[in-house]
C-alpha cells in the first residue's frame, strides 16, 4: 500500500493523518504536495500524525525535512505525533530528533502550539 493522507482541523491546528508507506515515488510525492499545499494556504500550525505509517525510507524522511523547512520559512511550525518505534529509531539514527518536536499524544501536541 502506498501512502494515504487526510487533513483535519483541531482548533487552529491542522492535523495531517498519514497511513501506509512513505517511499520514493508516489508516496513521497503525495506527501510533499500535501504539506506544500497546506503551507501555501496559510496553515501555520501543522501536526503530522504518523501513527498509521508502517514504513518510511530516506526519500520519505527527506520529504519530512523539506516540509519542515517549507513550513518554518512560512513562519509556521511542523511537529510530529504518534511515531512507531521504527520511525523513532530512524529519527535517532539521522539525528532528526534534534530538529523535530515529537509527541506521543495528540492532545499534548496540539496544546504545544499555544
Amino acid at each position: 500500500m502506498s501512502v494515504k493522507l487526510a487533513s483535519r482541523q483541531v482548533g487552529d491546528v491542522t492535523v495531517i493523518d498519514a497511513a501506509g508507506r512513505i517511499t520514493l515515488g508516489e508516496g513521497a510525492s503525495a506527501f510533499r504536495d500535501m504539506i506544500r499545499d497546506l503551507a501555501s494556504k496559510g496553515n501555520k500550525k501543522l501536526l503530522l500524525n504518523l501513527g498509521e505509517v508502517s514504513y518510511i525510507d530516506s526519500s520519505g524522511i527527506g520529504e519530512m525535512v523539506s516540509g519542515f523547512t517549507t513550513v518554518t520559512n512560512n513562519g509556521g511550525q511542523l511537529k510530529l505525533v504518534g511515531l512507531s518505534k521504527r520511525v523513532k529509531d530512524l529519527l535517532q539514527i539521522t539525528k532528526l530528533y534534534t530538529v523535530f518536536e515529537v509527541y506521543d499524544d495528540e492532545a499534548e501536541a496540539v496544546r504545544s502550539f499555544h
Binding site: 517511499t23 520514493l24 515515488g25 514504513y55 525510507d57 530516506s58 526519500s59 524522511i61 527527506g62 520529504e63 525535512v65 523539506s66 519542515f68 523547512t69 521504527r86 530512524l90 539514527i93 539521522t94 539525528k95 532528526l96 534534534t98 530538529v99
Partner: protein, 138 residues
C-alpha cells in the same frame, strides 16, 4: 549455501521487487520482523541508488542482484551500470549544517542496519555494493 541471481530493469518497480526477494530470504534465514524490515530498507536504499543515481532510469541499463544465504550470513550484492560513484563525495548527513538537507541519508541507514557494507567499482563499469547481515544463532 542458497544462491539467487537476477537482473532487473532500472525502474522503481524493481526496487520493490528486490526488497521483496531479499526480505523473503531474510525470513528463511531466521531474522525477526524488525530485522527483516531493516534489511529490506537497506536493500531499498541501495536499489534506489542503483536505479536513480547509477543507471538514471535508463532502459538500456540493468541492475544486477545476487543473494547468498548461508548458515552464518545473508549476503547481497547489487550492481549498476552507471558512471561510477565516489562515496567520499557525499556530505556527512549528521553534520549540523547538513541536517536539513533533503537527501543524502541512504548510506547512513544502510550502515546502521547491516553488519557489513562495501562499495566498489563494478567489473565492466558501474558501481557494486555488498551488504552482509550476520544470522542470529538460534
Amino acid at each position: 549455501m542458497e544462491k539467487t541471481q537476477t537482473t532487473l530493469e532500472s525502474t522503481l518497480e524493481s526496487v520493490d521487487k528486490a526488497e521483496t526477494l531479499v526480505v523473503k530470504e531474510a525470513d528463511k534465514a531466521g531474522f525477526d520482523e524488525d530485522e527483516q524490515q531493516q534489511i529490506g530498507m537497506a536493500i531499498r536504499e541501495c536499489m534506489v541508488n542503483a536505479v536513480v543515481h547509477g543507471n538514471r532510469y535508463s532502459k538500456n541499463k540493468q541492475v544486477h542482484l545476487e543473494i547468498d544465504r548461508s548458515k552464518e550470513t545473508l549476503s547481497i550484492v547489487i550492481g549498476d551500470e552507471g558512471a561510477g560513484f565516489d562515496i567520499n563525495s557525499l556530505p556527512d548527513p549528521l553534520a549540523p549544517e547538513n541536517l536539513l538537507r533533503q537527501s543524502g541519508r541512504g548510506i547512513l541507514l544502510i550502515k546502521a542496519f547491516m553488519d557489513e557494507f562495501d562499495l566498489h567499482p563494478r567489473p565492466g563499469g558501474g558501481t557494486e555494493v555488498r551488504l552482509v547481515k550476520n544470522i542470529p544463532k538460534s
